[in-house]
Symmetry: C2
Subunit: 344 residues, 2 copies
């Protein structure tokens, strides 16, 4: 094997608006690694195969705040996020060369992990490894865990869900879980092609929010008992306007606010009182201890059986990770965005 | 007794900003009533003694919306709200002349109630009747029920509460319930005199939000685990900024939004996600079946013993009810506002 370049993506400055590929996120090939002799300190050497690109990464590109639970990236250091790799060498008895491992990786081609905190993938269902970044990974855990925690205990016959960014990695799972639970599902996406895909998932009403007014759709098809918010802003405002009494809002993200200093500010928060609405803001990490076992015991099988459908958007080469993130933040991707770092 | 004037307060037009006494709410003395002979249709004749003035009344002065659970007042008809009266005549075996009754009354001096849905007050604690509109009435039920439902199950040692409008009828009870549960309580009010009163209730930090920045106080004294929101707007924004992870926000009212078409719009709702915050919007009516018995079994006794303190603001004469509401909405009152309609 010998010496090889060890490319990585460096977070090099705090962006003011959208992150700029080559400026905010810089591909760097200055480092090399000796695959045969690099000391492992009792750990493992992993070759990173696929990395996940998710909207929340933008949130970690900001000034640190002392109250922040989820720390921002450090300028000058590599990005990190969920990925799947293959073990190249190991001094740890729990791992052997060839094992596939799922976990949080630096954006780097090869990593030495002295104390690996990774899940070994047996993948008995024979899914693609990238599935563990999307439909069987954190986005699906996000959808599954919060749906179980905040929605399922309250569902009544005839309930209606509105989900935004419904062609996205999280939204598409939410829509399918809600249909499986018998809800009427109203789903929005940002292009006709995405709307067509969302419709193919079995939702009741799908629309392109850039062409059709969300307010008008909800006025006609609501009121809504559940709102899954991935975007915030005007969609949240419309959802508040057409919420049913005692509606539950699951606040998963507010992508419309991430890249602007002047976000759209919701005008009708007082509906929270008059409609007795609950907002559940959450981070999936807090729900993992409660729901991960159930998730990994059931979701890969449901996916393998075709009960849960998914769509992936592959970007080849770690050097393109910056562009991949920009595309996710601006809605240019279609399906779960995955950077293919290396072939096996 | 014979014929007497039966004055009432008519809701005569939908206000655009603050309601205008004599215009939005008009005192009308054109009706009379024969106290001896007015037919009761098997019901009772009540002389209204005290009526409650609460901020939420403003919310009911708007165009009707098909999704509204709490219907707006009808233009041309009298206002209604909680009150205490005394039975003058009765054809109903459950009530006899001289009984004190608590319930929802029209803003009118005398009422015939064919089918009275009222609570008879035995008032064994010997409280003033007006107490049943405030410290033992709906504002206190609001504080008590939501505190029991949304806060108490989550309280941990060392938790911090921030409550706005803390000299108000609801806020002052919330502050005292939280202190009784061992929380550190940060409380804001709108004048130095009100702050002094709030401090006398035993809170840890009290400040005049018109003179001191809420953000600076919360930065120093927070982060906050609970926020009781009576006002919305900038206070809510500051609370989001200095919320602890997994904080609970109890959204009771947004008085800062009620009287303006251009309310202050919160800019940092995305904190809901990053801090994993829950917003619980509620109307007390939905919690009454669960907590009313407990409340009436315990609160009057706690008040009589002096464990829960309160302050009242009396306005004499039904003709002054419009001004009383304006004063409540603009913060001119100090203590629970009660209109004294008649002496016994």
């Amino acid at each position: 094997m010998g010496f090889v370049k060890n490319g990585r993506i460096i977070y090099s400055e705090i962006p003011t608006g959208y992150p700029v590929p080559g400026k905010t996120l810089v591909y760097d090939e200055s480092q090399t690694i000796d695959l045969d002799n690099e000391p492992l300190h009792g750990g493992i050497l992993v070759k990173v195969l696929v990395l996940s690109i998710d909207p929340y990464l933008r949130r970690r590109m900001q000034e640190p705040s002392p109250l922040d639970f989820f720390p921002p990236f450090k300028v000058g250091e590599p990005l990190d996020n969920s990925g799947v790799g293959v073990v190249v060498r190991s001094e740890n008895p729990s791992f052997k060369p060839g094992d596939h491992v799922l976990g949080r990786f630096l954006f780097q081609q090869y990593l030495v992990l002295p104390d690996p905190k990774l899940r070994k993938l047996d993948n008995r269902e024979g899914l693609s490894l990238s599935a563990y970044l999307g439909v069987c990974g954190v986005p699906a855990q996000t959808a599954h865990h919060a749906w179980r925690e905040y929605a399922q205990p309250k569902i009544k016959k005839g309930d209606v869900l509105f989900v935004t960014a419904a062609s996205g990695a999280v939204g598409a799972i939410v829509a399918q879980l809600a249909k499986a639970d018998g809800l009427k599902v109203i789903a929005s996406a940002g292009s006709d092609e995405k709307v067509e895909y969302v419709r193919s998932l079995g939702v009741d009403v799908a629309f392109n929010y850039k062409k059709v007014s969300t307010r008008e759709v909800l006025q006609k098809e609501g009121p809504i008992n559940f709102y899954w918010d991935n975007v915030g802003g005007e969609s949240l405002e419309a959802a508040l306007e057409f919420a049913a009494q005692k509606a539950t809002f699951i606040i998963c993200g507010m992508i419309s606010n991430y890249n602007t200093k002047e976000p759209y500010n919701v005008k009708n928060l007082q509906q929270l009182v008059w409609r007795e609405i609950t907002f559940n803001g959450f981070l999936v990490g807090s729900l993992m201890p409660k729901y991960d076992d159930e998730f990994f015991a059931t979701m890969p099988a449901r996916v393998a059986k075709g009960e849960i459908k998914y769509k992936e958007h592959f970007v080849k080469g770690l050097e393109n990770a910056g562009q991949a993130l920009l595309d996710v933040l601006s809605g240019e991707n279609f399906g779960k965005s995955v950077v293919v770092v290396s072939e096996e």
